[in-house]
Symmetry: C2
Subunit: 267 residues, 2 copies
């Protein structure tokens, strides 16, 4: 999916919501657990319920890998189920030497039909570039993450800049706002204005709203640009909105609340 | 596998060789390619041929993920085939917020029987700690990698130190030499003496010998300690030693050459 199509979807839906499918088999409703295809059935119900409120789905690969080989199949079946109107993100945090990153790109952009993948920047340019070589695909590089551990390295100074700042500015030169996004955690709201000032055009994938406590209002006020330029992810707050048979309906309600709030900020 | 067992194997085999199973379906010998289980048959033949010369196998997850869901099964069947005398490393470069890293740890240490996993440090302590919580398992954190891109961030100064130095010293405080190793690329030989001086006891997983050009002699002279303290990986130089039917025999010859050279350095 290219940038034009993504921006069209955002304007049409009045939403920049991404729904995170961090599906833990232990947390799905009891009435589904007995089914052999419980996780897939859960994902399909969540997708059906939230399609109108969001523009993207983010599949957290860890939760599928933890299920063993069948988990990789469920991930494949889930990503195939997401319609082409929605940006399909593999939240995989990959990155390795060039010939290995090429294999990861093949895994997520060819063997699986993802539109985007999250990538860790530590190993530098040749670990990121193989992902950028694909047309109409997105590489989403970690900038400033939402977790407490961001303080250990990302928020340490490298010369006059924070490491995350050095990383984002350097990585920005390897791609362009049509094939490169950055992860910026919603819990880092005080940094959003500065980040938007150096990167006026890029999309930021923003986790950390909901269970992690970030403020949708604050990050929207600081970082929306003319194309929105944000994809705000909520996972647990939506997919585990209810533990009962009404889980999909409750997920729809929470996703619609995010969409309604976003619609206001987009005006 | 705990440290005592690993060191016993190194002393018994007179080897600190790790064989990297970066198996690319396009590069396996023609006579195997027709078989439906070609990659698994290739891996088993390489393992049978190199068992006596090495103490560890490293499975590069990217190559298996690139095959789709069947690749994850082949990875599982391969790791089950490796005997318990050998340290089984998932070269996966994972790392995410705490609840996600816990899922990755579950994927590689419970759903799959790996002894060790490589982890990227960018996101800080809570992205690494879930892996360290497992007894008799190893977390192998990226320090100074073998690729050209190491210059982009790892070799930039953070205060008085290089980033990789800050990372290795900080991460060392999160674990101990019995559950934590570091990746240090063989192409970074000039840095090995200094790294060994700050971390006298830790094992280093050293890729980059062979196809990437690092010198086994130089890194061994600079960084062997009383328990060896090194696991030197070769992948392409061993597994693709021949493209013909004799591939396993040629792999055995190359692996034995590394073992013989290591045996000299261990004295």
């Amino acid at each position: 999916m290219n940038r034009q199509s993504l921006v069209e979807q955002i304007k049409k839906k009045k939403s920049y919501l991404c729904v995170g499918l961090d599906t833990d088999p232990d947390k799905i409703p009891a009435h589904l657990k007995q089914r052999p295809d419980a996780v897939l059935a859960f994902n399909k119900a969540i997708i059906d319920a939230t399609l109108d409120a969001c523009v993207s789905y983010k599949i957290n690969t860890a939760f599928y890998e933890a299920m063993g080989p069948r988990g990789w199949e469920i991930m494949e079946e889930t990503v195939h189920y997401i319609p082409s109107t929605h940006l399909k993100i593999a939240d995989a945090k990959r990155g390795d030497i060039g010939n290995t990153s090429s294999q990861y790109a093949k895994a997520f952009f060819e063997a699986l039909p993802f539109d985007a993948i999250t990538v860790a920047p530590y190993m530098g340019a040749d670990s990121v570039q193989p992902f950028l070589e694909y047309d109409n695909k997105w590489t989403i590089v970690l900038g400033l993450t939402s977790n407490k551990g961001a303080a250990d390295f990302e928020l340490q100074k490298m010369g006059e800049e924070y490491l995350y700042e050095k990383v984002m500015k350097t990585v920005a030169s390897w791609g362009n706002p049509g094939n490169l996004m950055f992860v910026v955690g919603a819990t880092q709201a005080e940094a959003f204005s500065a980040i938007r000032s150096w990167l006026p055009d890029h999309f930021f994938l923003v986790p950390g709203v909901g269970a992690q406590g970030g403020s949708l209002r604050e990050i929207s006020e600081k970082a929306l640009n003319k194309d929105a330029g944000l994809l705000v992810n909520a996972s647990r707050a939506i997919i585990y909105a209810s533990e009962k048979e009404d889980f999909a309906e409750e997920a729809r309600i929470i996703a619609s609340q995010y969409q309604a709030e976003m619609s206001n900020y987009l005006q």
